[in-house]
């Protein structure tokens, strides 16, 4: 059944009465097909694509995602400690297809906002509205020696092959070895992620390689997220050496050594260098990023870019909202942005909807901690209402996280 916008209805209704009066069938002029292109099938983009179709099935939605499968970054730290398999975190896109999302497993080549089109190979996809949810890219040049060594120095910060490789490196390290992991300066994807990873690597070493140790070199002055909770957790691990204000500036893969901003040199057997980050290249090239050349500023109600009209940005690539770069926030942004786009394409005022955030971090093989944030929109800006932390680590919180993942993966992809 063809849906009808309010405006078209008002235009057509007078004629409709006349036609009905004669007993004739009503036929409205076919409205032009409205098209949305979504770049990136992660937590934000997949959600947006699905919810635009749910909101108005007359809108054509094309999702551009080079990967054939969705791999969840949340829970991928558990793969490093051998508690979870990457397979359990891998899902297909068939659910989105059932919603009528057209999926092309190709990368977007470039965005041309003035022509309202996206280049894909030699082809162009035209859009009325574009959703950009490209995630992050790494700033290799911020660490001397990293660009040349990026194939062997693993970040494992995009769940996938590197996650499995880093797990293998940890497994094959001799007992008594030193693992060094580095935390990038804010802002970066998943604020508590590095500390969850540190906890889980420390747990793994304590359990499987008790003579080994983990050195965490944090570019930030203190633990960025769930600070008190992680400090308590770190006390469980005598093998964990946490060093704040130690931004890594150089890596020497031959000497197996990193140098920090204070000139400290730290030797490693296994290195996990999480590089500084910015919005993915496609967003930078389309001039969606702000003065920092890193992140995309958006309207807090519609997620439309403040720099390019008809282009919306969701997920980790955004900045300026007081929300973490988390999967749950990307999912919330995807839904709110989708609702805004459905309204805008139907000539209606988008509703004002704030996001929310639920974020679990595992700290050993059985227990987790959590932080939950809720927000409101005040004078057009997202503002936090409340933040609540779990009192400490618990098995119940870990179990809750497994239920959360079932639900939210279904919300993103099902």
């Amino acid at each position: 059944m063809k849906t009808l916008t309010r405006r078209e209805f008002l235009k057509a209704s007078g004629m409709g009465v006349a036609l009905l009066g004669t007993g004739g069938a009503i036929s409205f002029a076919a409205e032009a097909k409205r098209r949305v292109v979504v770049i990136g099938g992660g937590w934000g983009g997949a959600t947006a694509a699905k919810y635009i179709r749910l909101g108005d099935a007359a809108i054509e939605v094309t999702l551009l995602e080079p990967n054939k499968e969705f791999i969840s970054c949340p829970f991928s730290n558990l793969v490093l400690s051998g508690v979870e398999s990457l397979q359990n975190l891998t899902m297909n896109y068939n659910g989105l297809r059932k919603h009528g999302v057209k999926i092309r497993h190709e990368a977007a080549g470039a965005i041309e906002p003035d022509k309202r089109r996206v280049r894909v190979g030699k082809d162009y996809l035209e859009y009325d509205r574009l959703v950009v949810s490209p995630g992050i890219d790494f700033q290799w040049d911020q660490v001397e020696g990293l660009a040349e060594a990026k194939d062997s120095v693993l970040h494992a910060w995009k769940a996938g092959p590197q996650t499995v490789q880093l797990a293998k490196q940890l497994q094959s390290m001799k007992d008594g070895g030193v693992v060094v992991m580095t935390v990038p300066p804010v802002a970066y994807r998943c604020p508590p992620g590095p500390y969850e990873r540190a906890s889980l690597i420390a747990w793994y070493l304590q359990t499987k390689k008790p003579k080994s140790k983990l050195v965490v070199l944090d570019a930030n002055k203190d633990i960025v997220s769930k600070t008190g909770l992680f400090k308590a957790v770190f006390k469980d691990y005598s093998n964990l050496d946490y060093r704040p204000s130690q931004k890594v500036e150089k890596i020497d893969v031959r000497a197996k050594e990193v140098t920090t901003e204070t000139g400290d040199k730290v030797k490693y057997d296994v290195i996990n260098l999480i590089p500084p980050q910015r919005a993915a290249a496609i967003a930078v090239e389309a001039d969606l990023v702000g003065g920092d050349k890193r992140w995309c500023e958006v309207d807090h109600v519609t997620y439309e870019s403040v720099k390019q009209k008809n282009v919306h940005v969701v997920g980790d690539a955004t900045i300026g909202l007081p929300v973490p770069k988390s999967g749950n926030v990307a999912n919330a942004m995807g839904k709110i942005c989708a609702t805004a786009i459905v309204h805008l394409l139907n000539g209606k005022q988008p509703p004002i909807l704030p996001p929310g955030n639920t974020c679990y971090s595992w700290v050993n093989d059985k227990e987790a901690i959590a932080v939950v944030n809720s927000y409101k929109v005040e004078n057009g800006k997202v503002v936090q209402i409340e933040q609540k932390l779990t009192p400490g680590k618990s098995v119940i919180t870990a179990q809750n996280s497994l239920v959360w993942r079932t639900s939210i993966w279904n919300d993103v992809l099902g």
Partner: protein
């Protein structure tokens, strides 16, 4: 959607006006649907939670939904997850969110309860029926929750919390009665009760 009733122009206009309200009505085209949108990350689309420990909100009477949200916001039901989100709901508009979930068709829980536990639970459920009804249908007028067809994991957690007196009801007498009722029950008994009510329709 447009019904070709050839009666009077007034009626036709009325029909068309009604159609216009519904013309672009996708499942998200109501304030309640939009304001509850963040809830689906945990509670499932239209309140049909796929997880065993997260309650199904579809078909929940507004009286009880509102009581639960207010209890979470006031800390009467301690929950790191629901305290912030209850304030979210109060902020965006509790009435519309409650009305939205109330009219969503409820689906059965995805996790099927163990039939043996269901049988054992039936034998233990006599006292519960006094307030929650013979089928666990609750009493919307008194904001007594319908516990039938909720995920067993969720019911078991709530029973445990009530037994440990970590969740306060408003009426002290009911609190005390409930504690006394639950006191002699073992963890396995609570699991059986949860399974029984989860299987009831």
């Amino acid at each position: 959607m447009l019904t070709p009733l050839l009666v009077t122009p007034a009626l036709i206009l009325a029909t068309l006006a009604f159609a216009s309200l519904n013309a672009a009505a996708g499942p998200l085209d109501s304030p309640g649907a939009q304001k509850s949108m963040v809830c689906s990350a945990c509670h499932g689309f239209a309140g049909n939670s796929p997880g065993n420990t997260i309650p199904i909100l579809a078909g929940m009477p507004p009286s009880y939904f509102k009581k639960a949200i207010k209890d979470y916001a006031e800390g009467k039901r301690p929950s790191p997850e629901m305290e912030p989100y209850s304030k979210y709901v109060l902020q965006v508009g509790i009435d519309e969110v409650a009305e939205y979930f109330a009219v969503q068709p409820r689906q059965p829980p995805r996790t099927k309860p163990d039939p043996n536990a269901v049988k054992r639970g039936a034998a233990l459920a006599g006292q519960c029926a006094a307030c929650h009804g013979p089928k666990g249908e609750g009493d919307a007028f008194r904001a007594v929750p319908a516990i039938q067809g909720q995920p067993a994991g969720y019911l078991q957690i709530q029973l445990t919390i009530l037994k440990e007196n970590k969740r306060k009801l408003d009426d002290t007498a009911v609190d005390e009665a409930k504690k006394a009722m639950l006191k002699p029950l073992s963890e396995a008994d609570l699991a059986a009760l949860a399974a029984y009510y989860s299987a009831l329709r």
